[in-house]
């Protein structure tokens, strides 16, 4: 049984910069997979290597079992990529763009599928409009359609919702979910963590070319400190509570709360020390916190 994507010890250097440092992981058939990391982490570089837009210095990548270098043709037929940069050919209309893209993949008479893509992406009434005349969001939709003309089983979206309005984001996600439900494997990178949290089943995090976490979303969330309590106090934090202190933020003390029963103890210690609680709130960890923690070098 092959994987949808298998990445094995892939490294890539740009001059002195190690853009990818022995990255290995696999994505299974039908997964909805998120690749997260700050700007410059190497996400786009990894996607470029998957797509054959660049060549890794070391390691091997397979798409549906096909090596991206030695079986480039098969690998590319199985992969649809929506590039991060908003690019288009200003000479052509939407329909021309999609018909040409089908042809590059060797597909003739693709009109029925192109029409369906236009319909699903809300582009039907723009079919004969020149690419130049479309808004950024509309151009992005055309890029999604371009990635799908050859019905690839594996679809990679590199920050598809960056700089895109809310309405488009939602319709785009609805469409991508539908593709996933129909059996397509989806990989996406995004800056909006709530998107990854809402959509993806597994999450990989990258930082400075390294893979620093790779887990089921739920494991990742539960493995990190579950809860925190934020307190605004009339005086100093008693010494007995110092071990729980995580940080101070906007004049508030943030304490770890391994379980909710611990709150009782925190409050009684404060009463004993005659420190008054002005404000109290309890936070559940979300992906954003896990992310921030990991990116600052801490362990999840």
């Amino acid at each position: 049984m092959t994987h949808a994507i298998s990445i094995d010890a892939v490294s890539k250097r740009f001059a002195s910069l190690q853009a990818l440092d022995r990255i290995s992981f696999t994505v299974e058939h039908g997964e909805f997979f998120a690749l997260l990391g700050p700007n410059g982490a190497g996400k786009t570089t990894l996607i470029s290597a998957m797509a054959g837009l660049s060549r890794a210095d070391n390691g091997q990548i397979r798409i549906m079992g096909h090596d991206t270098v030695t079986e480039a043709r098969d690998a590319r037929m199985k992969l649809g990529v929506v590039p991060q940069e908003l690019v288009f050919d200003p000479f052509f209309t939407v329909r021309e763009t999609l018909t040409f893209q089908s042809g590059y993949f060797g597909i003739r008479h693709n009109d029925a599928w192109v029409d369906e893509l236009l319909h699903k992406l809300g582009l039907t009434d723009k079919a004969n409009v020149n690419m130049r005349a479309l808004s950024g969001g509309m151009k992005r939709r055309v890029m999604v359609a371009q990635a799908l003309v050859h019905r690839p089983p594996v679809i990679v979206l590199d920050e598809p919702t960056a700089g895109v309005d809310v309405e488009l984001r939602q319709s785009l996600w609805a469409f991508v979910k539908e593709l996933n439900a129909a059996g397509h494997t989806i990989v996406l990178t995004t800056h909006y963590l709530e998107e990854a949290e809402a959509l993806c089943s597994r999450i990989a995090m990258m930082k400075k070319g390294r893979l620093i976490a790779l887990e089921n979303k739920d494991t990742l969330l539960s493995r990190s400190a579950a809860r925190e309590v934020s307190l605004q106090l009339s005086g100093e934090l008693p010494a007995s509570l110092q071990p729980l202190s995580l940080r101070q933020q906007d004049g508030r003390h943030i304490l770890a709360l391994p379980d909710i029963a611990k709150l009782e103890q925190v409050l009684s210690e404060l009463r004993l020390a005659a420190v008054e609680v002005r404000e109290l709130s309890v936070h559940e960890t979300d992906l954003e916190q896990v992310f921030v923690k990991l990116m600052h070098g801490g362990q999840a």
């Binding site: 470029s48 837009l53 660049s54 940069e85 089908s102 060797g106 990635a147």
Partner: protein, 251 residues
């Protein structure tokens, strides 16, 4: 194969949509050259026995325009795609190096031939005879455009900025095409310059193309064919390897 056909079609449509610039403009330029030079130099000696200077000028101008436009077509299309980034849509699909090369090349040849036909059409009334050797004519038109089209692909892949491409065009392509015997028979040159002209491949394109019209030329058409054909084959093989290696296209 269908990838090749599609890319070829796209490249044709690309220049055809802006035909005013890509076809009409060079045809008009050539017409202006023809009018000015034939006026200034019509009293000039006959270039060949029985061939007036005005007639002699026409095939040279046509071949020069074909060469420049074949070069412009592939080079400007590629650099625009690279700079705007939409070249990614050609790099994601499995288009082979020969298909990629062939599509750009063939589109360049078509643009060159369309411009050449346009130039001949508007200048013919200056006294152009019917071609004496139509097959030679066609061979040099196609191969000449092919050489410059392939050179354009190379330049478009190599250049990172419009400036670099403009430099390539102004300092290499323009001198080569202008100093190739378009406006004179190189037999009228002093021996040194005649020797230098013999090193310019564009000279052989123009000389061979002229042979197609007049049945006479400065050098044997077979020599011209060998030079132009050799350049075409060598350049094509080299550019195709460049594309296959991913040079400047895939990091």
């Amino acid at each position: 194969m269908y990838g090749f056909i599609t890319l070829f079609k796209k490249e044709i449509l690309r220049f055809w949509k802006v035909g005013f610039q890509t076809v009409m403009a060079p045809v008009l330029t050539a017409l202006l050259y023809q009018m000015i030079f034939s006026h200034v130099l019509s009293q000039h000696v006959e270039a060949y026995p029985g061939v007036s200077y005005t007639a002699f000028l026409i095939p040279g101008l046509a071949m020069m325009s074909m060469a420049q436009n074949a070069f412009a077509n592939s080079s400007s299309s590629l650099i625009q795609s690279k700079i705007t980034g939409n070249i990614v849509f050609l790099l994601l699909p499995p288009i082979s190096a020969p298909a990629f090369f062939g599509a750009y090349l063939l589109a360049s040849i078509v643009r060159g031939l369309v411009v050449g036909a346009g130039v001949l059409l508007v200048t013919a009334w200056f006294g152009l005879p019917l071609p004496a050797q139509p097959l030679w004519l066609l061979a040099f038109a196609v191969l000449g455009c092919g050489v410059l089209g392939a050179l354009g692909i190379m330049a478009g892949i190599w250049a990172d900025k419009f400036d670099q491409l403009a430099a390539f065009q102004n300092f290499l392509i323009m001198p080569l095409t202008f100093l190739s015997g378009v406006f004179y028979s190189i037999n009228s040159l002093p021996p040194l310059w005649r020797g230098v002209s013999h090193l310019n491949p564009v000279f052989y394109m123009i000389d061979g193309f002229r042979y197609g019209f007049f049945g006479q030329a400065d050098v044997s058409p077979w020599l011209s064919l060998a030079v132009v054909g050799g350049c075409f084959v060598a350049l094509s093989a080299w550019v195709m390897r460049l594309i296959a290696s991913g040079y400047k296209l895939r990091h």
